[in-house]
């Protein structure tokens, strides 16, 4: 067993542990932190697999941008306390068992996969320059297409996030407001 193997096992254990902690942690903030830890371990896996570009992007985009956004929202909502009401214990158990079954079944099924090797440490396809070349030669169309995705997400964020203009009051809006009031009442909020 070489150093890489040992590193793999350690990282695997770390990522599983931190992932579990995401699920288990009572406080949303802790969950976020543990998720960031998980991302870091996964980035480490990337490094181990010599996929440096992805390792970097993962940290920058995921751990850096996305998770901070999450954290930001949680803070904004003041959800850092253990405000989450507990779900029915049985339902939780059933959920966990069901998930466990899925894992067992899939692992049992995929156990028969051919034992093939993944190249660790070496191989240079994961380097920025090589990936970039492929991206802009072969994958330029999907790259452009993803811009549509971003455009729509952008529009979406505007549509959803923009506060409803109170000047434009139409029947449907009044109706909606009334319904919101009713809903709040009914939910006891």
């Amino acid at each position: 067993m070489g150093i890489t193997q040992i590193l793999f096992w350690i990282l695997a254990a770390a990522s599983l542990l931190s992932a579990l902690m995401v699920v288990i942690s009572k406080s949303p903030v802790y969950s976020v932190i543990w998720l960031i830890v998980t991302f870091f371990t996964i980035s480490a896996h990337y490094v181990l697999l010599n996929a440096q570009f992805l390792a970097v992007v993962n940290i920058i985009v995921y751990a850096g941008a996305i998770m901070v956004l999450f954290l930001f929202v949680i803070m904004l909502m003041n959800l850092n306390k253990e405000t989450e009401p507990q779900k029915n214990r049985w339902l939780k158990l059933i959920g966990a068992v069901a998930g466990g079954c899925l894992l067992v079944v899939m692992v049992a099924a995929l156990r028969d996969t051919d034992s093939r090797m993944a190249q660790l440490g070496s191989g240079n396809i994961g380097l920025i320059q090589n990936l970039g070349a492929v991206l802009f030669k072969e994958y330029v169309v999907p790259f452009e297409i993803s811009s549509i995705l971003f455009l729509s997400a952008m529009v979406g964020a505007v549509v959803i996030g923009k506060k409803e203009d109170s000047k434009v009051v139409d029947i449907a809006g009044d109706e909606a407001k009334r319904r919101v009031a009713e809903a709040r009442e009914s939910m006891g909020v």
Binding site: L91, I94, G95, A98, C101, L102, V105, M106, A108, A109
Partner: protein, 625 residues
């Protein structure tokens, strides 16, 4: 000739159409003339055929009625000796009764009068079809046709719901028999492939039919006959049928229609000759019916009911004869019976007419002096039916008893007993009605009068026929080379040869006559001066007709109704329909129950998805191999 023969049934049909369509517009006189005249025309044509001896054993085909593949059923007539005899009886007696009716029904409204004659004509048409048809299908057309007319005429006074019920009963019971007839016809078609008499009878003699075929076919045909001719077990409709106008009872329910069964069996003698089982059954049922009806007639007080049961009893006689193989005797009795029973019915009609509709003999009495002609003719009728020589009934009844004696002594004994009872109840009727003091209301007493000529003339003619009618069949023992009727019919019905010596024959005749006279004397003693009778247990039983109607009601009618109620209510509504609707309800219920899955909770949705994924994976990787 062909066209002339076609005219026989067509004339009454034309009469039917004219009277039926013009019933509102034609005056009663015209209706009567058309009604009677058409039948008279038919009678004359029949007479011409009879006198010319122009009989045709082969069918006269008019057109194809049904012609499908190998099965050919032509619309054809066959006017042979047997048919001609019946033609004469039907048209002759029919004409007389038409004439009688013109007077009897005179009180009816114009349109109903027309309707009545239309029905009568239609009946004659159907009856003629029945006897003239050259195959079983044409016979069946007439067979059902007379049933229809019987239905219409019994229910003629349709305002009275009981009358229409009686009509319905008559029709339905006839239909039970008709089903037997039809099944027999199907059987014949299946085995022989034809319904033409000549084909069927030839095939019967050529042994194309197995004994079981013949037994089955003849039994089914006999079932048909029991319906039409009011034999056990289907006789109960006939007494109820007296709801119709009296001339109708005379024509249909005494003289003609009810003898259709005898005609049919006599016509099919070639089949019946070889069916021993059936013949035994026929003889037994005939004898039983004769006795049963006679016992019931002993204690009936409705003048027409007595005559009705008497008819049933006499028909039983005829079947006894048929069962004993004495077809000629049966036909002979049909003829004489037609004369004297029509006479008796018309006579009773005259009495009822005189008594303003009163039918209960307990409220009559002493009419002898006021209704002379009626009394006299009625008396002749009674003598004829009682079998007093030399009236017509004597000869025909004697022929039957003779063949019964030949055939089976026990049946003969029953026949003899019935003869005694017949004489007794007929004279009971006569004495109660015509002798003693008048027991009706004062109003009736003033009203009582002899009927008009249109009614008495037929009575007189029939009385004469009742007297002399028997001479066509005087047995050989009295007249050498006798049995002219048998000879006449021999092309159709092979002549039977008696095995009994002349001396025994004479002894039997004497015995019959003596018994009848004794019965009459007893009746004279008991009913000369009628007083209210005390009914014993047996008397009550008889008065209530052995409770057969009640028995049928509880054994057949009620169970079928009950079955219908159960089928309708439980099986149909709560069973099949419930199941069908149940599918709908199940869908609805399922729709409601399935909603639990749609709990609105994202968690449970995902959970269900994950569980199904596990299940699918499990199925994919571990179950299906």
């Amino acid at each position: 000739m062909k066209n002339l023969i076609a005219l026989i049934p067509l004339l009454p049909l034309i009469g039917f159409l004219i009277n039926g369509l013009g019933r509102k517009h034609l005056p009663k006189g015209v209706v009567g003339i058309i009604g009677s005249g058409t039948v008279l025309g038919s009678f004359i044509i029949s007479l011409v055929i009879f006198l010319q001896g122009n009989f045709s054993a082969t069918p006269i085909k008019y057109f194809d009625f049904i012609n499908v593949g190998s099965l050919q059923i032509p619309f054809a007539f066959q006017v042979d000796q047997l048919s001609t005899l019946f033609l004469l009886i039907i048209t002759g007696v029919g004409f007389l009764i038409h004439v009688y009716s013109t007077s009897y029904m005179h009180g009816e409204k114009r349109e109903h009068f027309g309707r009545y004659f239309a029905y009568l004509n239609l009946f004659v048409f159907s009856m003629l079809l029945l006897v003239m048809g050259a195959n079983y299908v044409i016979m069946f057309i007439g067979w059902e046709g007379v049933g229809l007319c019987s239905y219409l005429l019994i229910g003629y006074w349709f305002k009275n719901i009981d009358y229409t019920k009686a009509a319905k009963k008559a029709f339905v019971m006839n239909r039970i028999g008709d089903l037997g007839f039809l099944l027999a016809v199907f059987w014949i078609i299946a085995k022989i492939g034809s319904v033409q008499y000549e084909d069927v009878f030839t095939a019967a003699s050529l042994d194309k039919l197995t004994p079981s075929d013949i037994t089955g076919i003849t039994l089914l045909l006999f079932l048909g006959a029991t319906g039409k001719s009011a034999q056990i077990p289907l006789y109960t409709w006939l007494p109820d049928a007296m709801a119709g106008p009296t001339p109708v009872s005379a024509l249909i329910h005494a003289a003609t229609m009810v003898t259709a069964g005898i005609y049919m069996i006599a016509r099919s003698n070639a089949l019946f000759v070889n069916a021993q089982v059936t013949n035994t059954v026929i003889a037994i049922i005939g004898a039983a019916t004769a006795l049963l009806a006679a016992t019931i007639a002993l204690r009936q007080n409705d003048i027409k009911k007595v005559l009705a049961y008497s008819t049933v009893s006499q028909l039983g006689y005829m079947f006894l004869a048929l069962g004993c193989g004495a077809y000629t005797a049966a036909v002979f009795h049909v003829m004489t019976h037609a004369f004297f029973k029509a006479l008796l019915f018309l006579g009773s009609g005259s009495v009822i007419h005189a008594m303003s509709g009163q039918q209960d003999i307990r409220f009559m009495g002493g009419l002898k002096s006021k209704l002379k002609i009626t009394y006299l003719t009625f008396f002749i009728g009674c003598l004829a039916i009682a079998g007093i020589p030399p009236f017509s009934g004597f000869f025909s009844k004697d022929a039957i008893l003779l063949s019964a004696f030949e055939h089976d002594k026990f049946l003969y004994a029953i026949g003899l007993l019935t003869a005694a009872l017949t004489a007794f109840y007929m004279f009971r009727l006569l004495f109660i009605t015509f002798n003693g003091g008048f027991r009706g209301t004062e109003e009736q007493r003033h009203h009582v009068h002899e009927s008009p000529a249109a009614m008495t003339l037929p009575l007189i003619v029939l009385a004469i026929l009742s007297i002399v009618g028997g001479f066509v069949g005087v047995p050989e023992v009295f007249l050498h080379g006798g049995e002219r009727l048998g000879e006449f019919l021999s092309p159709v019905i092979p002549t039977a040869h008696h095995t009994i010596s002349h001396s025994t024959e004479l002894m039997l005749m004497a015995l019959t006559t003596v018994i009848a006279i004794v019965a009459i004397v007893i009746a004279w003693m008991r009913y000369r001066n009628y007083k209210e009778e005390q009914n014993g247990a047996l008397g009550k039983l008889l008065q209530n007709k052995w409770y057969v109607d009640e028995l049928y009601d509880s054994v057949v009618v009620k169970p079928i109704n009950k079955l219908g109620v159960i089928a309708n209510h439980y099986f149909e509504r709560s069973g099949i329909d419930y199941l069908v609707n149940g599918v709908g309800r199940l869908v609805n219920y399922g729709g409601r129950q399935l909603r639990w899955m749609q709990s609105g909770q994202v968690g449970s949705y995902v959970l269900l998805m994950v569980i199904s994924m596990v299940a699918f994976f499990f199925l994919q990787f571990f179950l299906r191999k």
